[in-house]
């Protein structure tokens, strides 16, 4: 049982490094592209055709 509990965090760390290494290239580009736009939703503003 103790061994099982020790394994959970190790598996989670493994999963973290796996997902980050698999997703870094295009994932970080995606995050940058979305994060660099002024987000009207975050401000709670409504989109307008004239804007």
């Amino acid at each position: 049982m103790k061994k099982f509990f020790k394994i959970i965090p190790l598996l989670l760390w493994l999963l973290t490094f796996l997902t980050l290494s698999l997703g870094y290239l295009k994932g970080s580009e995606f995050v940058q592209s979305r994060g660099s736009l002024l987000c009207l939703s975050c401000m709670g503003l409504e989109e307008n055709e004239n804007f």
């Binding site: 190790l10 979305r34 660099s36």
Partner: protein
């Protein structure tokens, strides 16, 4: 340096780092450089004029709203990246981020220092604490994924209809830079502003009201509190049950039962105030259930005392 002073210093430093872009008065725009590819640990809107990093919750929703429009293969890497980043923060720090790094956490701490009517706002069975579960499940995960707009994209439900940080940092701070945004103010902004005002008032009344009851990011970090690298340990033999720790806990936790629970923001006030040092911080790479934790701590305490 006392823990509380060190914590305040780190909170200030972290808030400055989260918002260290100083070029916005010249460019009139938010930061668009390469640091935006990284998510910040704390709740800090990426549309804040000074924000250097992206918001993890905003980025997660951005991926989810694109699921119906962009091919799944194109979104696989962003999904991995955002989830991996959140997992990394959670496993490394847990809710240490809430207590030590989050800019909105600092704002709440400072607000509570203002003399005002103070009270613990409690619904029966502390049911108000479950609001953040509903916000995470519905506003962050389900509605952005399932509610599709005319163009096929979803809506950033949490950001658009709830997030007080977005209203404050992105909304109010961007108006002086881009006055044309005022033309887009509508009912949603007014409602969000009212919500922000209510939350700020509630934070004046109860310490860390938003963290306790409403923050979905804190909830994610909290779920991983028991797995994070730094854990709080309680030495039963050293404890005199004076309950000073419980009185000092800003989250109103029952200690030691709720040490390392989802709600613990790791402010370390319990550790600081304990006269017998029965609570301490420990680095660990593994998870142990409560009974083993206590036994382990007792063994270490005995070893230290040479008993």
């Amino acid at each position: 340096m006392k823990i509380s002073k060190a914590r305040r210093f780190i909170q200030l430093l972290s808030t400055l780092l989260h918002n260290a872009y100083l070029g916005f008065p010249i460019t009139g725009n938010i930061y668009t450089g390469s640091l935006k590819r990284f998510c910040a640990p704390g709740l800090n809107c990426y549309s804040c004029p000074g924000a250097l990093f992206s918001c993890p919750l905003g980025s997660l929703q951005q991926v989810l709203i694109s699921l119906r429009v962009l091919p799944f293969q194109a979104l696989l890497q962003p999904i991995f990246y955002v989830l991996g980043t959140i997992l990394l923060f959670s496993l490394a720090f847990g809710r240490f981020i809430c207590g030590w790094f989050c800019p909105f956490g600092l704002l709440q701490d400072l607000l509570y220092k203002i003399p005002f009517y103070k009270r613990n706002l409690q619904l029966p069975l502390r049911s108000q604490r479950y609001l953040k579960y509903a916000l995470l499940i519905f506003f962050v995960l389900l509605l952005p994924t399932l509610w599709i707009g005319e163009l096929g994209y979803g809506t950033l439900w949490f950001c658009k209809y709830f997030c007080p940080v977005g209203t404050l940092e992105a909304g109010f701070f961007n108006f002086p830079l881009r006055p044309e945004l005022l033309n887009l103010v509508g009912k949603i902004f007014l409602l969000k502003s009212l919500l922000l005002l209510i939350i700020l008032i509630l934070c004046l009344i109860e310490i860390r009201f938003f963290c306790k009851n409403l923050c979905p990011l804190g909830l994610i970090y909290g779920i991983f509190n028991r797995f994070s690298l730094l854990q709080l340990r309680w030495v039963k033999k050293a404890c005199t049950t004076c309950t000073l720790c419980e009185k000092a806990c800003p989250m109103g936790l029952s200690i030691p039962k709720e040490l390392n629970s989802v709600e613990c923001i790791r402010c370390l006030k319990c550790l600081e105030i304990c006269p017998t040092k029965a609570i301490h911080l420990e680095k660990t790479f593994y998870y142990l259930p409560e009974k083993y934790q206590i036994n382990l701590s007792v063994r270490r305490w005995r070893d230290e005392k040479g008993r």
